[in-house]
Symmetry: C2
């Protein structure tokens, strides 16, 4: 049976609210995901929350399934009020359902590169919205997952999880240093594709081959020169205006759709 | 000569800080843009700030040009300290330069559709980052500007301006009701292109014609049925994963690059 929690002073409320801090997420190995849609994606991908919060009075068949599954797994189901959900999520209009999950193992060794034709690799990504949007795009283009190289923003932050729209649970996720990633990449097949303002080659000119690894650089700096030099293909997108670059998540998507469009045509 | 302002209690500091609120922006007709890069884009597009703030000790030839231009225009140049810039921008690591600008006239009648082959139309867009990213993409693909239909997030919010990376000043911007937009659109040439989950037509199948108007829907709801029905072309992008949609700014960019790629090929 769900238990009722309505007090801001409740220790669990304080503990879950603290998960908005990266330090606390690292200490506990827990993170927050919000919304029935994302929690249902999680469930379908085999992730059951440790704690499940929902606003009293919420009625939905998907919520019933979630509650049953959490209870069957011995998890904690908490009925609460919108003010508490607001406090937990930090959002003005909080979702009526919120789950606390265990963070995943993000070792590179979990990645089977032959499981998908396309992978996305992000280097020193700083913005949680961009990271989440890139995971969401990865799901849409049939990528296997996202490999985070160097110091990236935490993919388990509330903002990043929100922007993934559930793809955090359906895409593989790995973190690695550049040297470790490079060693792993070169120990098998795969084409490393970077985009660069300095590139001469139009991004529609080469024929891309699976498994393709699309490498995205930091929002402000782009890719370091040594990383560009490691790419098997370094390409540029047409820039017809005054700007010299695209948002990192946008550039990733434009590149990824070119790759899968070629494959759809059988090129 | 620049004047020195270092007190948080300074009335101008309070007034500029208040511009982070939409209500205050509407009352004053002023907004904030940050960073030497964006302010230089603004200057090149003919926008001179009413107030120019910079951190004491900042040395840059582009800043010298800005200062000279603001002074020539009778504007207000203020030397200040990082703490004040932090207070004004709300950012932990504020830019060293910040400008206060007059909001533009955003009447639809300012738009000459023949001035560019491509235009972006956003409906009930809610996220300032998405709005800014769409403007930035518009610049990159050679669009003429962005038309905001129905109730969209304020394009002059600090977050939106930041995400445009200067494109706010280089792209045309108009706001209109759906009925006013539709009447304007149908009074001239132009192809209205919508993306929809319900569409049958692959987005690479039709031949797009200038001027093309790419219509983007609200992040959560997509386009209303009546708006989809108005489109000359309703297309879908391949979705190969569990997700059924892309981030709004990402979808806009993927669509826009398809259109300009066709034109680059002379299709």
């Amino acid at each position: 049976m769900p238990r009722l929690v309505t007090a801001f002073s409740n220790p669990l409320v304080k503990e879950v609210r603290a998960l908005r801090d990266k330090k606390r997420r690292r200490e506990t190995g827990l993170f927050i995901a919000e919304g029935l849609r994302i929690l249902t994606e999680a469930r379908e991908a085999g992730h059951v929350p440790v704690h499940l919060f929902y606003a009293a009075g919420t009625r939905h068949v998907l919520l019933d399934s979630l509650v049953a599954e959490v209870e069957a797994a011995g998890g904690d189901v908490v009925e609460t009020v919108p003010d508490i959900l607001h406090k937990l999520s930090g959002k003005d209009n909080p979702q009526t359902v919120l789950g606390v999950y265990r963070v995943f193992d993000t070792g590179l060794e979990r990645i089977d590169r032959t499981a998908a034709p396309l992978w996305i690799v992000a280097q020193s990504l700083r913005d949680p919205g961009n990271l989440g949007t890139i995971l969401r795009t990865g799901d849409a283009v049939g990528a296997g997952g996202l490999i985070l190289v160097d110091e990236c923003v935490d993919p388990f932050s509330v903002e990043a999880v929100r922007a993934t729209m559930g793809a955090l649970f359906t895409q593989k996720l790995a973190t690695a240093s550049w040297d470790a990633f490079r060693a792993w990449l070169r120990a098998g097949v795969g084409q490393l594709i970077g985009t660069s303002l300095k590139a001469e080659l139009d991004y529609q000119a080469p024929r891309y081959e699976a498994p393709a690894f699309i490498l995205v650089g930091n929002e402000a700096q782009g890719l370091p020169a040594a990383y560009e030099a490691e790419c098997d293909l370094l390409v540029k997108m047409p820039m017809l205006g005054k700007a010299d670059s695209l948002n990192a998540a946008v550039a990733t998507a434009v590149m990824a759709y070119e790759v899968i469009n070629q494959w759809r045509r059988g090129a």
